[in-house]
Amino acid sequence: MITTIALFLKQAIIQGIPLLYGSTGEIITEKSGNLNLGIPGIMYIGGISGIIGGYLYEFSGAELNPVLLVLIPLLSSIIGSVAMSLIYCVLTVTLKANQNVTGLALTTFGVGVGNFFGGSLSSILGEGGTISLIETGKAYKQTLPFAQDLGLFGEVFLSFGFLAYASIIIAILASIFLNKTRKGMNLRAVGENPATADAAGINVTANKYIATCVGGAIAGLGGLYFVMDYVGGAWTNNGFGDRGWLAIALVIFALWRPHTSILGSILFGGLYIVYLYIPGLSRSSQEIFKMLPYVVTILVLIITSVRKKREHQPPQSLGLSYFREER
């Protein structure tokens, strides 16, 4: 019994990590007042860029260096995600386009680009079907050497690749940044009330650009984790599924607090796969169980709306463009 629960916990953590990346990235973005609904697309791009970078290196014929096997996909992933975020910023911050429309377009675009390159890469390989970057996957799945010797504890907590631990560290750092530093406070002010921030001498545009790009890069790592560690260096079309939207739901569940989304991500991850652990479910009832994270999010929304605590509300100017010379 204990073992089953422990293994379930491990699976929940594994499922939760892409969500944690996505929600940390989105929280940082939303704190600047940008509602980036392009996050699901950016996570796809983060994944496929990593795959492309990894593919170019692993199949370049050079002798494979384990450090580069990690670094090259990591950098390509970040470049891909930041490029997507920059598109979002130019459209919404500089050109003041509608944030919802821009975000949704980016998601559609990102999923499409991901599947397109995912598909063509495998046809370049001449194999058809899925691409497999075995060496890169191995590098990403590298665990601590002594993890195996620690029994159940090692199995549940130490059996992950470095991106898993990095997700938690990044979430904690993001919380500290937002709540304890001067720059974090400035960023929150931009998301709450850009006119006030502007009058206080804070550069609203720069804050929005930087927060959105950094947030996008972090979210993209969730896609990278998925393709490299979870899947082990392979791309399947639409394999990432709706995890991007789940990450955005997690932002609401965590009440815009990255440290809360650490536990939230494990909960969401658990709820996402709980159907596997309930015997005798038909295909259709499985789908009902997969809704659970969204149901929980709606409950959280209802509870926070009823309680009306101002700290638990989204940033006040979330989704709004900022015009300075408005009278």
Partner: protein, 513 residues
């Protein structure tokens, strides 16, 4: 006075927004250790002028000198660097931050970010000037007066020597105003310059050393408060009477159409918006409503139109045909229409309340007659011919009747709105600032339309800000101040000074201690 060093000097400052000239060749001097009042009516360019000193706007032309040196203030940061701080009428505070966080916002003094140390520094300022605020309290839990205190401390914490306050007393109780004035006097003794924007004459007299007056974006002059009295200031503010040549006919056979009795209304914060307001609107005449904007005009009209909930009072409509008397209070606009009362309302916010900007002229016509349709499909014929008629009669400049209203200029938008409201052949027509932002020709067209309605026997209510227009257009003028009626005068015999004084003088003690 002149032996004091000069803190700020403005020379020939001009600022335009599109076609509107907000400030024209304004000169102004502020000395160190004085309190200067800037007096002017709404739209006289007081706030715009001050926004140029605090870096929100940048002047089109002119020079700004701070402590004798010519400067270019391009952003609020530049203003802070010159030790200029402005307390805006609409507070610039982050609601979910604490007072201390708001005060520290945007400052990078190079030291470690530690709110405890910052709070200790702020407390020093509090003790020096006698502020009493809880630095750990969130802004959204604060009263208006507390928020204002945070704003002032924020500016002082940044080391400002020149403080600009934009209508600081508008939201304060008399006691809070007295406390604020005490603090301002302390700052003055401390050698700081204080500029206070206001249109309350008694406050000018009690707090300031000198008064500068602006009128319609232009600088009128500056006089020491000791040499000023209320009537000189009023005439500086309103200027000489300019005749407008609006044709005004005598009211024909006026009868009471709308009798408002003792209506009261308070907002969510418990501030009285309408205080025991009673008046009568007669058929065949234009009743003008004069007052500083935000004195309750909007609430008054919305109460009659059925959009504003009242605490008490009656709004009685006398129906000429049936001889019935109906109380409009607490009735929705639809209920009012079902009573057979044809009430037309041209709201202040044309594209917000009056028309839908993204819809074309025809569809906007239908907004008022949507109840008439019988089938599920739209019947565009009638509204289309109405739209064409309005375009033709009122000379609306538009490519076609299917052009979205938002693409029209302000004057044409207003013509569409007024045309639609008049087409409903109202018995009561209320218009709030119908010529705001309009050029001369469009304005006259609107005046003529209102006069036509009046001659048809419609009871017209006209809320205006330009006293020349009010005096030349209306039959009677009611002056409102702070939600109270300060008096009703005959437009044919009154003077600008009389109305001006009534506008700025609060009656009955409120805020006038």
């Amino acid at each position: 006075m002149s032996n004091k060093p000069i803190a700020i000097e403005l020379k020939k400052i001009t600022k335009t927004f599109g076609k509107v000239v907000a400030n024209k060749d304004v000169d102004l001097t502020v000395y160190e250790g004085e309190i200067l009042s800037i007096l002017g009516e709404n739209g006289s360019g007081k706030t715009t002028l001050m926004n140029m000193i605090s870096g929100i706007y940048y002047p089109d032309s002119g020079q700004i000198f701070v402590k004798g040196r010519e400067v270019s203030i391009q952003s609020p940061n530049d203003a802070f660097a010159l030790k200029i701080g402005m307390i805006h009428q609409h507070f610039k505070l982050v609601d979910i931050f604490t007072a201390a966080e708001n005060i520290a916002l945007g400052i990078n003094d190079g030291k470690k970010f530690d709110l405890k140390r910052i709070s200790a520094d702020i407390e020093k300022i509090n003790t020096k000037y006698g502020f009493n605020i809880d630095l750990n309290k969130k802004i959204y839990e604060m009263s208006v007066s507390e928020k204002q205190t945070v704003e002032i401390v924020k500016v002082l914490y940044r080391g400002a020597d020149i403080l600009i306050l934009d209508e600081p007393t508008a939201v304060l109780t008399p006691q809070e105003t007295q406390r604020l004035f005490g603090i301002l006097r302390k700052m003055k003794e401390d050698g700081k310059s204080v500029v206070i924007i206001t249109h309350k004459l008694h406050e000018v007299m009690s707090i300031s050393d000198r008064v500068s007056v602006l009128r319609k974006g232009e600088y009128v002059g500056t006089i020491p408060t000791s040499e000023a009295d209320e009537s000189t200031l009023t005439s500086m503010m309103v200027g000489k009477k300019i005749s407008l040549d609006i044709e005004r006919s005598e009211p024909v056979n006026p009868v009471d159409r709308l009798v408002v009795e003792n209506i009261n209304c308070t907002n969510r914060e418990g501030v009285k918006l309408l205080d025991n307001v009673s008046f009568t609107v007669r058929s065949g005449e234009i009743l003008g409503i004069a007052g500083i904007s935000g004195s309750g005009q909007r609430e008054l009209l919305e109460a009659i139109a059925g959009l504003q909930k009242l605490d008490s009072g009656k709004i009685i409509y006398h129906n000429v045909q049936t001889g019935k008397e109906d109380n409009l209070r607490d009735k929705t606009p639809v209920q009012i229409r079902e009573l057979g009362i044809r009430l037309s309302f041209v709201p202040e916010d044309r594209l917000g309340m009056g028309l839908v900007g993204n819809m074309d002229i025809v569809d906007n016509m239908m907004l008022r007659s949507y109840k008439k349709g019988k089938s599920v499909f739209l019947q565009k014929k009638e509204p289309k011919s109405l739209a064409e008629k309005i375009i033709k009669d009122l000379e609306v400049v538009t490519p076609s009747s299917s052009t979205p209203v938002r693409r029209l200029s302000g004057g044409n938008v207003q013509k569409v709105l007024v045309g639609r409201e008049i087409a409903a052949s109202p018995t009561v027509l209320m218009a709030a600032y119908p010529v705001r932002g309009l050029d001369i020709n469009s304005s006259y067209l609107i005046y003529n339309l209102l006069n036509e309605q009046k001659e048809k026997g419609v009871a017209v209510v006209f809320v205006g800000e330009d006293l020349d227009v009010l005096i030349d257009l209306c039959d009677r003028i009611m002056v409102i101040g702070g939600g109270k009626i300060n008096g009703v005068v005959d437009a044919r015999t009154t003077t600008k000074e009389e109305i001006g004084l009534m506008m700025v003088k609060a009656k009955g003690g409120n805020a006038d201690e």
